[in-house]
Structures are given as C-alpha cells and as structure tokens.
Amino acid sequence: MQITGLEMKQLRKNMFSFSHGDGFEALLRRLSKKFIIEDFSHEVTQRVYYDTFDWRLHRANQVFFSSGGALHLEQFNGQGLAVAAGRRRSKFFWWNIEEGELVERLKENIEMRALCPIIELSTEATQFRIMNKDRKTVARLAVRNDRLGEQTSELPELIIVHEIRGYEREFDGIVEQCLKRRCSEVKNKRLFDRLLSNSDLTPRDYGAKFRVDLDRDISIGGAVSRLCLHLVEDMQKNHAGVIADIDSEFLHDFRIAVRRTRSLLSLLKKILPEAQCRYFQEEFRWLGTVTGPLRDIDVYLLEKDKYLTMLPAELQDGMSSFFEQLEVRRNGELRELQSHLGSERFGNLITHWKGFLTDPDSELFKGSRAQNCRDYVDQMIVKRFKSFIRDGDRISDASADDELHKLRIKGKKFRYLLEFFKSFYDEKQMSSFLKFMKKLQDNLGDFNDLSVQQTMLGAELGGLKAKNLQTIRFAAALGGLIAVLSDRHRAVRNEFESTYADFTRPEIKKLLRVMVNGSL
C-alpha cells in the first residue's frame, strides 16, 4: 500500500460586517438556538505599524509592527516571518533590535533606513466558542472593533468565523446565518490592507526611482516645469526627514534631487532664460555645497564595517577613535545644515523656483522654450553621446586620473538626460541602454569614490601629530586602509578599458540610433 501527495484542506476563515447596529447580537441569538455559545476571551490590544519612508517593507509585501512587548514581521497575508522582544519606539533601525532572524530578514530589505510609525491601531476583540451539545467546540467566532490612531470613528465592526477541522457542516451553517442577516462578506481578509484603505496614507507614494511621464508634444518649458516640480517635491518630501535627522537617506535623496535639478539646468542652459538660469544654477550649487559635508561623513559611517574588515584585526582598534570623532563632527555639520535648510535663502529659493516653474507668465514658457521638446532632446542625446565617446576614446593607460573623473561627470549628465526624457522613447530599448550605461558608470563611480576616500584619509593622516600610542595606532590603521584602497583603485582603473570597450560595441550605438532616429 502506498499513499502519497496528501493535501489537507485549508481551514476557512470568513469575515463579515453588519450594516445595522444590533446585527451581531441577533446572530448570536439565532445561533444559540442550535449551539452553546461561550465567550472565552476579551482583549484590548495596541499595535504600531512601521515602514521606511520609501515603503521598503510594503514593496517586499511585508508588515512590521510592535505589540505587547514584541516586534513582529509578517507577510501581507498574516503569515508570521519572525518575532523578537522589543517595545514601541519613535523609530527602529535594524541594529536597534536584538540579533536573530528578525534582524536578518529586516536588514535585507530596509538596509540603512529607519522604520517609522505609520499606523497606530487599537483593537477590542471578543472571541466566542460555538459548541455542540457535548460542549465540543465546532467553530470559533470573533468580533473585533478597530480604531486608528487618534481617530474617534472606528472601522466597521468585523465578525470572523473560524472553521475547525472536521466540522465543515457547522461552519457552513454559521456562514449561512451571517449571510441571511443582511451582513456583507469582507472579501479582502488582509488586516493591513483594511487599515491602509481606512487611513490617509498612500502606500509607495514615495520612492527613490525617478520617473516622470511627459506627453510627446510637450514644449521644452512644459517639460522643464514638469520635471523640476517633481524634483522640488522630492526635496520638500525629504526636507523634514533631513531636519529631524531620521536616517541618512533623507539627505541622500534630497541631494540627488538637487543634483538632477542642477544637471537639467546645465543641460538646457543655452535655451533657458539666461538671467534666471544663472540665478537658479548659483542657488542650487549653494544647496549642493551646504548639504555635502554631512553626506560625506554619512558615507564613512555607513561604510564603517566595510572599512574595518579591510584591516587586519590588530589595526582595527586604531580606527575606532576615528569613527568616534566622525560622530562628533557629524553633530556639528548637522546643526549647520539644519540652519541652512531653515534659512531665508533656502525658503526664497524654493518659492522663486516654484514660481518660475508654474507661473503662466514665466519666461520659461516663452520664446524658444515653446518649441517641441522631443525634437530638441533627440538632437541633444546624439550630441552628448558623441561628445562622451570622443572623450572616452581619448583615454589610454597613460591618461591622468583627472581625465576619468571628467568622463564620469559627463557620463552622469548624459545618463540624467536619458532618465529625464525616457518616457519619449521605447521603454525596453531605453532601459536596456541605461543598463549598459550603468555598468560603465559603476566602474567610473568606484574609481572616483576610491580616489576621494584616499585623499580624505591622506589628509587625515597628514594632520596627525604622534603624541601617544592611540595616535600611532590610528596612523597605522589609516596607512593600512590607504594601502588597501590604493590596490583597489588600481584594479578598478585596469577594468576601465574592457568596461568601456563593452559599452562602445556597435550594437549599443545602434540601439541608441534606433531610439532617437538619428545618425551617430
């Protein structure tokens, strides 16, 4: 005898909500004619749900909440993934939670981002046993009332019928009674979905990916307005997070929006009204400059573990004081940045900029800016690509590092150009081209990062005075790091030639030519 492939039936859980007030009591009265009903638990519980600002857990179909001294990670369907001890906090980083499966699962998705409270839920639930004449439980019934945050109105009362294995008939009978009593069946059984739809939150309303869909016949001024309004919104969305110093990525995303804005101004400076363009370029350069020092420190702190693993164990201790000093320096830089972002200059910039982008009488929509954007962008892409290739072809083994840095900046500008206007082009072709472009840029980016890091560590080393053993240890650690970084720097430089050759293959040029209908 061989029996295989057993699939036991999934136990059912049906949910209902009554449209009239005494619906549940009437249901209980009806059921009590056939069953013995006993309420066995009455609980009031509190939950706080968290996610990152860019909804990283929601994007991974996961839910994280604190409740009753424990932290839970679940899938959307309520299936538990991991639990750890912990109480509610104003924010959580994964390193604030005790080591274990929860941390492992969280850090995979949220990385360096903080989990912040998004929903506070208070639930009052009563559970009933539905028993046969032997007092055997044949089904369970629960009635729950959920209240969100400070809201005074509750979510619709929910009645949940749980099936018990082997008592299908009884379950069907109870469900039938519910349906007979004019109550509507709740099809979406995911609690978190219900909570979100009853809150004023819009899941995934912010993400770091840039996408603005432009009409094919949009004018240059119209396109600049749409793109830059999107970017300034990103700056404003991240502004509060930077000021409150919630996590490092608010500033990172803020700076990306500034950099993209500067790039667009620079790309179109020949066609934009000269005086205004110069003013805004100047002001956004200022914004880029004042946000730089804090971000530089954040990069080091985020890479702390990576730096330490580059060093042999005996040199690692020497670096600890360096990171401690960085933390202190960070506090100073944060205060400085907070004052810049709260300044009149910043306020004026945003007001003037938004006025320039939205005022119908703005110079932005006049003159040559009224011409078709797509035609102009086609030409610009061809021109920029040719110029990039011209510079790239000139680079040889003998070229100075500076040549590569210049190429990186040119490449970045070109990639931004493609990203701004990608909605004009075939999506598949564009993302394929951007993928090739990214490979080359990653190489150039790594090369630049390694140069900057070596310079910064070198400057740190140059400023040391050997006054005690601690300083000597630090100097040794810095020396060790510079040596490792220098090796990597060389290796990345050596990879440039093949990466560049890969990018300039005829089929990639052809891909771009097909996209822009141009000659390359």
Binding site: M1, T4, L6, M8, K9, D134, I164, R165, G166, Y167
Partner: protein
Amino acid sequence: MKTIAVYSSKGGVGKTATTVNLAFTASRDGYRVLLCDMDSQGAASYYYRIKPKKKFNRSRLLNGEFYDFIRGTDFPLLDLLPAHFSFRNLDIAINDERKEEKRQVLASLLAPLADQYDYVILDCPPNVTVLSENIITAADCVVVPVVPTTLSLLALEQLLKLCKKVGCKKKKILAFFSMVERRKLMHTSIMKKYRSYPIFMQSYVPFMAEIEKMGMYRRPVGSSPRKSVASQAYELLWQEIRERRLS
C-alpha cells in the same frame, strides 16, 4: 514527523491518560500534533469530546481515506483521528494484507502526513496482535506506562520479546512508572529496583484523583489555567521523551 506510540499489552495502566496529556503538552509547546485513537473503545476521543463522522470506519482507514475524518480538538495545533467501533477488528483486517506488507500497513498510512504534523501520537489497544506489530514498526518511539506491579513488568517483558520478533531495535522502547502510589511498599520497592535500568525514564506519573477525573471533565489536565501537579508530571515526561528519543 515523528511517531510516538503509547502502548502496553496490559490494560488499566494509564495509556489513554498518557496519550491525551502528552498530545496536549506537545501541541502547547508549539508543535502540530495528530492524536490517533486506535483503540475501538474510543476513550481518547471521548476525553476530547470528539465523535467520529458517520461515514468513517475501519475500511476507510485502511484504504488511506481517513484525512477528511480528522477533527480539530478545542486546542490549537492539536487534531485527532477518532476511534471507530469497527477498529475492534483492525488486526483481522490487517492480517488479510499480503504477508510481506503486513507489518508496514500503519507506517504507510501515516507517511503522507509528514508535511502536516510534527508528531503523531498513537493511543493503542491493550493486546498483542498484528496491530501491535504494526504500531511498533511505525513508531519512532514506543512509550510504555508501567504500574509498579509484577504483571505490568511482565507486559513490558512481553513487549521486548515482540520487538525482537519483528526485528525492531529495543532502543525504541521507553518505559515509565505510571499510577505510582508512594504509600504502597511494592510500588516503592519495584521502582527502586528498576528505575536505574536504561529502559526506564526518570520521570514518573503519580496516581492522582485529578487524572481519574479527566473522564468527568473531558479535557487534558494541563488545559485548566491553574498549573497542577499532574500537568507538571506530564510536562516532565514529555521533555524526557524528547530529550532521550526524539531529538
């Protein structure tokens, strides 16, 4: 999935009370447990207030069509396959199987449950038949309640012989003293003599009115909110079984 059989050829040694309480303790520890009531008297089913569905019988069990007849108990993670009156002839029906498959019938029936449960716990009838051979073959561990009396020890000896006959390792068998009455000299002297034997566990279950009253209240001793001596005894027994044979 591990299969645990609670077995003794002697009646009245506390097999059903042990099965009912071990199954409850295991499920409360967070394991998915199926209690199979193999004894046609259906005492374990009675304790859990579960009656078999009308269409259930021995043939359905032996044809492997019993999954739809498993019923949930009142406790999370604990399901029960109720006994049926027709189980009294289970051994005769198994005897009709082909000779080479005769001892594997139960093991084959339980195998497909492996993904559904962590433990299957069998409450066995008190006899020595081909069903007993099946139970010993299917089980990863045979738990034997032994009242500290001569007849109960004889039943254990008989089981060891049966084990040898069916070619099972003696290591599968774990005995414990059940219904122990400390005031009885025979109980204390038998326990003193045999407790150090490797086959015996250190945990034992005293004779207690609370266990006897399970028939009245129809629920495992550990299910009341108050922690009792009896429920602690079964918890210790479960822990020792897990440590010695199931880890």
